[in-house]
Symmetry: C2
Subunit: 139 residues, 2 copies
DNA sequence: GTAATCCCTAGTAAATTGATAGGATTAATA
DNA sequence: TATTAATCCTATCAATTTACTAGGGATTAC
């Protein structure tokens, strides 16, 4: 299941991208528009800022803004920040590989074999989808 | 992340399929061979039996066996039993659809749009993979 | 009848999730 | 400079899920 954190994060990014203007967007505005608990959203946007997707401006009239064009923000990056590894088991993770302690031979492991395929097909979606794709009306 | 339940379940099914013989396999044998806590595995195999994937024989020399040929056991079925819905959000689930309570219009929802693509690509893998594929050495 | 096996229900510790609380810091503006 | 409005940061917490464990009942081979 997708965590609420990821769901809220994606909705917030889409909101900012759709808005389009170059003034920063406040957390409160997004929270109200997307029905997201404000304090929770605060922490989510903070992590997106720390990861370099968002920039922020403090103080009055502050808020968050995209640091790149929506068409340059890949879902691989966003999903890894919000949801963590894309692979369903660490032994097939590209970025966070760890062997299973109970598996004597990955080459013989049926779970490994299946999860590599799932990982690749999911990656294929995320690599070919940008925030611009999510924000636009088309497909 | 894939739950241990699913991981253990897949390993157990693969073990039974690879064994090939028509005598039932005991939980203890699988647990020992695959390093799975026996009592936990018991409950997993029980749920696979209740779902019709496995049959069982009680009493001495009892155990579990496949009710279909490995080539006829699709991953869609196995994963739904072990892991639950394949979709990452209920609003794109084919078998367990439920609308999100915070989403006024699915057609405009970026999460919905993205997760439909992920669901379809994952389904494509599971629909084209059988237990026989996991059990064989090839690919 | 005894041993070996599946069947079933409960319970439980640890981790994760989805928040909330409370305030420190920063910046615009009057 | 004082006020206000925003981000930033840490800590905490209840509910849920996960990954088991315990204990025994039911069934069957021998």
């Amino acid at each position: 299941m997708l965590s609420k954190k990821t769901k809220y994060g994606l909705k917030a990014l889409t909101y900012i991208a759709r808005r389009g203007e170059d003034t920063p967007v406040q957390v409160g505005e997004i929270a109200k528009a997307e029905f997201i608990p404000q304090k929770f959203l605060e922490s989510i946007l903070l992590s997106l800022r720390k990861s370099g997707i968002l920039g922020s401006k403090k103080g009055k009239h502050g808020g968050y803004y995209l640091r790149k064009e929506p068409s340059e923000i890949l879902m691989t990056e966003v999903m890894r920040i919000l949801e963590g590894p894309i692979a369903m088991v660490s032994c097939v993770s590209l970025n966070y590989y760890e062997p299973c302690d109970d598996c004597p031979d990955e080459a013989l492991c049926s779970v490994n074999k299946l999860m590599i395929q799932v990982r690749d097909s999911t990656l294929n979606v995320f690599r070919n989808t940008t925030l611009a794709d999510l924000s636009n009306g088309n497909q």
